[in-house]
Symmetry: C2
Subunit: 576 residues, 2 copies
């Protein structure tokens, strides 16, 4: 409960007892860089005193345990956990994550504003703060069909909406550097707010232009050199430990006593299994400490630094006037939050919630997002040449290679040839807009037979299917569509495994533990069909993302990302 | 000249040459904490590139000299330099100070908004950024007559005015802690902006209440213990090196690798002689380094830290998109700015301005501020008792002691007794409002004969006179009034020295060098009359400030600051 200032002052100066006193705490002070014994007095949702001298209606004697501010995830796509915000909260709140800065660009590509509002609405009442940055790149390009479009003229409508913090990762870095008017209009509209970046590999004058445009952060650094250049140019570096991108350890050497204030921690995309097994930001804090970072510095990255970067002056530290989002733990060398307080209330203890977080109803507009015109779906490829471009998927990478292979031609049609690891790939427009289907071939997924399908296909999230034969592909794709979205593995007419993701075709309505189990079933099923990838769905979900090199397939066809244009499937000659 | 974003980007990415290239610089990078060789490319008023790879219309080869961001004074009362902002700029810009965060509360006490606007207006076009915080305590209390009053309902009118940054030092800390409604209304009005504090000696739950109210800084710490407590509670500590308050060296032990980001540098009140002889923030940087602070850290305090505290995202660092306010110097161990760039233009070299800063016209409303009703000025004190309260001035302190002495009574009047160092003091209302005159006695000033008078009398700036006889007092006071305000020393009918301060009775229209000379003349004259104080005017200017203990005199009479009430001059009995 938020108190009015006069009431807050009454509690602070001790004229009225506090609501809660965390007594005999070892306070992790992210301002002074000290850890020392003190009491923390709380009134309503706010810290009113740190030190000694307060009485309280309830006293929790911490007997020397550590108390630190709640953790802040500086950049997360909730949709990657395949559950909506409240369900993600169930997983991360007991681990001490009390604030999420989310980029809802997956759901925005499907449902536009309605998707963004659903995310904010869904988190309401849950013991976590969900803040969102306005998705800056919906759709990613014009070479796809997304479910919604958020040009600058639309995006400004999010300005000032409660819970909207700034502009989310500006992935169109070539557009920024070149000064394209639509992306500059977005930057101008959000110039007084935090603007997150995304510019893998950008360097030199181009990077200076990107920074000069007012972009304040980057979470895509993969080498110390890249991170150092961006740090020097004033960008705050988000150290990422996602399921598919492990940059934290690599970049930690950059975090020194003189540079540490310019770093935050983020999970970006973490899958249910990793969230449940390792954790969230708490895991990153422990990894950083294990790698040699001072515990206090690691905690600062996860608290004050993110609060300062995002201008959240109400949290990120244990000080009078700030929200009582707090974690209590024993071993500073490997903090595992035992007690978690959110807005002054104990919400988790020993890794479990004190009170359950009940799911919220999902509005029908959010669950009926898969609209495929099956009458227009024809997976056959008429052979108009002898050689085809092939997408080469790389294990746990979002970039691909572009290859050329001899087509397998049967009855005048180019078909999959699983013996050569040449699978057919289809991207079926599923937003009920164009009814387009992009067709191509992919290597590196490794299915010997059967097919997989998914409505998680960054960023447009059309219905993607990959398989050794059209029948299996259609079985998987139809199963997914009938479930309102999801992921499936099929062989012939048989569905071997299915994870329904009825919320925008991206998120489940099941508990995250069940989602994790079924995701495991999918991988196992794909393995029986021959795929050796760690998680084939993680890899294939990026095969349709036409802003990451080199060759991708959208519902409009093959995209040569480096030329930034649609290219035909068949090529005239195989180059020497 | 400010460029539009598309133009800025053209220069940044190198499609168009920069306007200026500082080549072969050793860049002091306040983000990464490094110093390294790089070029700095500037277009218009903005840095567009740091690194290598730009061409420019003009190239300045720095041959390995250091370049750092321009210095920011986090808290300064321009009026203490006794010259208006443009003239102060003349003194501090060649020393590398490019941004002043000013609290114009002296002139606001005389002229209200008109005074604040005069300060902003006066700086316009000068090669410095003057930002002001809205004066929070005008008048200081109801036990005085000031020239203007700025209650919350008035103060909000400054919100959003260009150049207005936040709320200036909230000196009414007892009012904040106690929750007085007018001061809370000011805090609420400015809650989204930086709010500076001023709470000497506040500690424990009362300090927690003050911090919980949203007050973000304090520049009044005088001990390491005091600074540490405030630091821990989330207050940014401004390290002050004023003419009359030397806290920088004392507090430096608090500045460590883990705490440094929470400190800024400020001059608060610096007199012309100190500005000319030692400098401004550049002096504080050198002192800090000489005391053992790493040069890079000292520079950070003077640049990035202040920029971050005040949310000035356009300056405080050398990075693309930030203002090209830069200083170039040789010896990092004692930085003395040689070249100074403001908004991309070279404005000073070798300690001298490249182009003169011409004075701006002063509007008549600002110069006609001394309005004394002499018909009501009667300095005689009828003896209604045998003992009087005496203000004991302490050298270079703003606090006083409160004493009781036997009155010197002649012809039924209590008079000065310079042999006992008992001088008469008068505070003559000079704003043309009440015509009140407060009378009392002061010890510690040391005049054997004659008198001094001043319209610089914090914070109400009435006409203060102190002397050995009424005639000298009136001579000095009339000389000051006729000059439109100022400071004078007189003996009998003769004016020995006079510094006219016609701008609000606080500032001169002469060059700062002349002001410094005349201030020296005043001290010399006071010395011939017997005062041994370093600067008697500096000391006496606080004898009328009824918010600093213990005994003070305003135009309404003696104030016992600890009881916070007006008290009679005569006491019944001298206590045992």
């Amino acid at each position: 409960m938020a108190l009015e200032l006069p009431d807050l002052l009454r509690h602070a100066r001790g004229d009225e007892p506090a609501d809660l006193l965390l007594a005999n705490a070892r306070v992790v002070n992210v301002f002074s860089g000290e850890v020392y014994e003190a009491d923390v007095a709380i009134a309503g949702d706010t810290i009113v005193g740190v030190g000694h001298g307060w009485e309280a209606r309830r006293v929790m004697d911490l007997r020397g345990r550590h108390v630190a501010p709640g953790f802040i995830d500086a950049h997360v796509h909730v949709e990657s956990a395949m559950v909506p915000p409240r369900e993600l909260a169930r997983a991360v709140v007991p681990r001490g994550v009390t604030t999420l800065v989310a980029d809802p660009h997956e759901i925005a590509n499907v449902l536009g504003f309605d998707g963004v509002r659903f995310m904010l609405e869904n988190a309401r009442g849950a013991p976590i703060t969900l803040l969102v940055n306005a998705p800056s790149c919906v759709p990613a390009t014009g070479m796809e069909t997304s479910g919604a479009s958020l040009p600058a003229t639309e995006l400004v409508k999010l300005l000032g909406e409660p819970g909207v913090l700034g502009l989310a990762e500006v992935m169109d870095f070539p557009g920024v550097v070149a000064g394209h008017s639509d992306v500059l209009a977005k930057l101008e509209a959000f110039r007084e707010l935090p603007v997150d970046g995304h510019c893998p590999g950008l360097s030199g004058p181009a990077l200076c232009a990107y920074a000069a445009a007012g972009i304040g952060s980057d979470h895509e650094c993969t080498t110390v050199e890249e991170g150092r250049e961006k740090l020097r140019l004033g960008m705050t570096i988000f150290l990422r430990e996602a399921s598919g991108a492990h940059d934290l350890r690599t970049l930690l050497p950059l975090v020194t006593a003189v540079s540490e204030r310019r770093f935050c921690l983020c999970t970006d995309d973490r899958e249910p299994a990793d969230l449940l097994a390792e954790g969230s930001i708490d895991h990153l804090v422990r990894v950083a400490i294990a790698e040699g970072l001072a515990p206090l510095t690691a905690i600062r990255l996860a608290t004050l630094n993110a609060a300062e970067y995002f201008r959240l002056r109400d949290r990120g530290a244990i000080a009078p006037g700030r929200r009582a989002d707090l974690v209590v733990f024993d071993a500073p060398g490997a903090p595992r939050p035992d007690l978690v307080y959110v807005a002054g209330r104990l919400v988790a203890r020993g890794g479990a919630l004190v009170e359950p977080i009940e799911p919220a109803p999902v509005p029908p507009g959010v669950t009926r997002s898969v609209r495929v015109d099956w009458s227009r779906v024809d997976l056959r490829i008429r052979a108009v040449g002898r050689h085809v471009r092939v997408i080469r998927a790389l294990p746990d990478r979002i970039v691909t290679e572009s290859e050329i292979a001899e087509a397998a031609i049967r009855d005048g049609e180019a078909v999959a040839d699983p013996r050569r690891d040449l699978l057919k790939m289809a991207v079926i427009e599923r937003h009920g807009r164009r009814g387009t289907v992009g067709l191509g071939f992919v290597a590196g997924v490794g299915l010997r037979r059967g097919a997989l399908a998914s409505t998680v296909a960054h960023d447009h999230h059309n219905l993607l299917a990959i398989g050794a034969d059209d029948r299996s592909m259609l079985t998987a794709a139809r199963a997914v569509a009938e479930a309102g979205g999801g992921r499936a593995v099929a062989d012939g007419d048989r569905v071997l495994a299915l994870l329904a993701l009825p919320i925008a075709g991206l998120m489940s309505d099941l508990p995250i533990e069940a989602v994790s189990d079924r995701a495991g079933d999918l991988i196992a099923a794909a393995r029986t069909l021959g795929s050796a990838l760690r998680d084939p769905f993680a890899t294939v979900s990026f095969l349709a993302l036409e802003v990451v090199p080199k060759l991708k397939l959208t519902d409009l066809g093959l995209v040569d990302v480096e030329r930034f244009e649609l290219v035909p499937l068949f090529v005239e000659e195989r180059p020497a």
